[in-house]
């Protein structure tokens, strides 16, 4: 079913789901939504499966013309959203009629990314087990690329439309601060750094630079001192890996993380931390907080519990 024509594409709007698993051994990044929390919320708000494909909107959002009556929801970074010039809220179901214009107005005020879900889920082909776009590789999502003006987007026809609004209670809406603290598990190459280097890493704030994207966040700040400077044998990377290249400034790998690399990894940001970091935009600050593996595990289990409990927390109001 045709749902939208792209009037303006926004800065970088891509189709994402929960990512592709099982292909990292072939050098294929996982990809998928950067902020799993906001992503899951949008799907729940239109009654989709947790894994349905949505749009990920970055800093400047798109303007869309509805080609059919659809139910949508937007959640994530604080955008001004309008239907035919009337401001409409984020974090709840919206009814959009054929011919309506749905527009992200201006840029994200807090946070960096928002998700747009359409009831039924975005309909693009599954490539290597996922609908996520991997722009560098040119595959997945909508023709392997970000949206452009004139693109016509399809969604799966829902079996039925929702008969009540779904609204996320205000206490579940995150505040995206200009400074965020994320938890890290130290290692696996902590021993490459001096004691002073590790202290520097844990006691300073780092700024997100404009050279940050879905592949990784390049941070600026106090350089981290190394003890061993010989080149390491290339090994595996994962989302959240904090690499320290020659200049001593951290690079945190995000959703499109390459699968292997040779820079030493001082620590790994937790799964929940990576989702939170996804909302940091250039100029925002990040602090790294060392946690034990047991604490990281507890955080992971709590994050999973929150995500799987979201649909039960929604308030339903009749239209």
């Amino acid at each position: 079913m045709e749902v939208f024509r792209v009037v303006k594409p926004g800065l970088f709007t891509t189709v994402q789901d929960l990512g592709r698993s099982g292909f990292q051994r072939f050098g294929v990044p996982v990809s998928g939504a950067m902020d799993k929390y906001a992503f899951t919320c949008t799907n729940m708000l239109v009654g989709n499966q947790a894994s349905s494909a949505c749009w990920e909107v970055t800093l400047f959002g798109p303007e869309l013309e509805a080609l059919n009556d659809v139910q949508v929801a937007v959640a994530g970074a604080k955008f001004s959203l309008a239907v035919n010039c009337d401001t409409v809220p984020l974090w709840q179901t919206l009814n959009v009629k054929k011919g309506d214009r749905l527009a992200f107005v201006g840029s994200a005020r807090n946070g960096c990314r928002a998700y747009l879900a359409v009831r039924g889920g975005i309909d693009v082909p599954v490539v290597l087990g996922s609908r996520s776009t991997y722009v560098r590789g040119g595959f997945g999502g909508f023709e392997g690329r970000a949206l452009r003006t004139g693109d016509v987007i399809h969604a799966f026809a829902p079996q039925s439309l929702l008969e009540a609004w779904r609204v996320l209670p205000p206490e579940l809406i995150p505040n995206y601060e200009k400074e965020s603290a994320v938890n890290v598990v130290m290692g696996p190459q902590e021993d490459v750094f001096t004691k002073k280097g590790i202290e520097t890493f844990l006691s300073n704030t780092y700024t997100v630079t404009p050279e940050s994207d879905r592949m990784g966040y390049r941070l600026d700040g106090e350089p981290i001192e190394r003890k061993i400077t010989t080149e390491l044998v290339t090994d595996a990377l994962m989302q959240g890996s904090v690499q320290i290249p020659g200049n001593g400034k951290p690079i945190v790998l995000m959703a499109d993380a390459q699968t292997s690399g040779g820079y030493p990894k001082i620590a790994i940001v937790t799964t929940a931390g990576v989702s939170r970091l996804a909302q940091a935009k250039p100029g925002d600050a990040v602090r790294f907080v060392r946690v034990s593996l047991a604490q990281a595990r507890a955080e992971f289990l709590e994050f999973s519990r929150v995500l799987s409990g979201l649909s039960g927390r929604l308030v339903k109001e009749s239209f």
């Binding site: 050098g27 994962m238 937790t270 990281a296 999973s304």
Partner: protein, 220 residues
Amino acid sequence: MGDRAVLVKFGESIDLSINRKVHALCRAIEQSKIVGAEECVPTYASLLVYYNPLKTSYERLVYQLKDLEPKLDEFSAKIETWQVEVPTVYGGEFGPDLLNVAKHHNLTPEEVVRIHSETEYTVYMIGFIEGFPYMGKVPDSIATPRLETPRLKVPAGSVGIAGNQTGIYPAESPGGWQIIGRTPLKLFNPHARQPALLQPGDRVRFKSITEAEFEKIRKE
């Protein structure tokens, strides 16, 4: 590693016997269907094992992995590998660094081509970009360090040398390897069931071809 992976290290060097253990453990984990183990990423000397913390724990998984260790030789012996021939045009615009490599070793370009194509390489791992095979070992007689300044664009199919490694760029990408030739083979296809042409453990030989043969193979 992090809150949902275990990194198993077998060594710190590029060595075939270490790499075999990495792939044997990868195979062993898949065949023993360990609960909660989700994805394995083999590299030169270590294996990254992702797990689902809702289904298992770090401690439990480490315990199970240690249990597999004595059986690795058995798994290693059973891994099926293929011999693959990679047709390659050496030198000229397809291999702009062939002369560098020759000069670095006081060899003629023809001697570099002979040595590179006479050697059988093993695919140690796939990484860097999708489908990029890291292969070794390049004989010391032609092993050459990376370029001092990486190129912003290396064409798809480029065959390169970096130290004792040789590799093939599956897609156009920035890169710092010494490019000595180009193959018309397509190394990665996301729409195929088996997306990467080369698999870890495969044995690879390069075959010198002409530009006319390159065009012919490319069109097939």
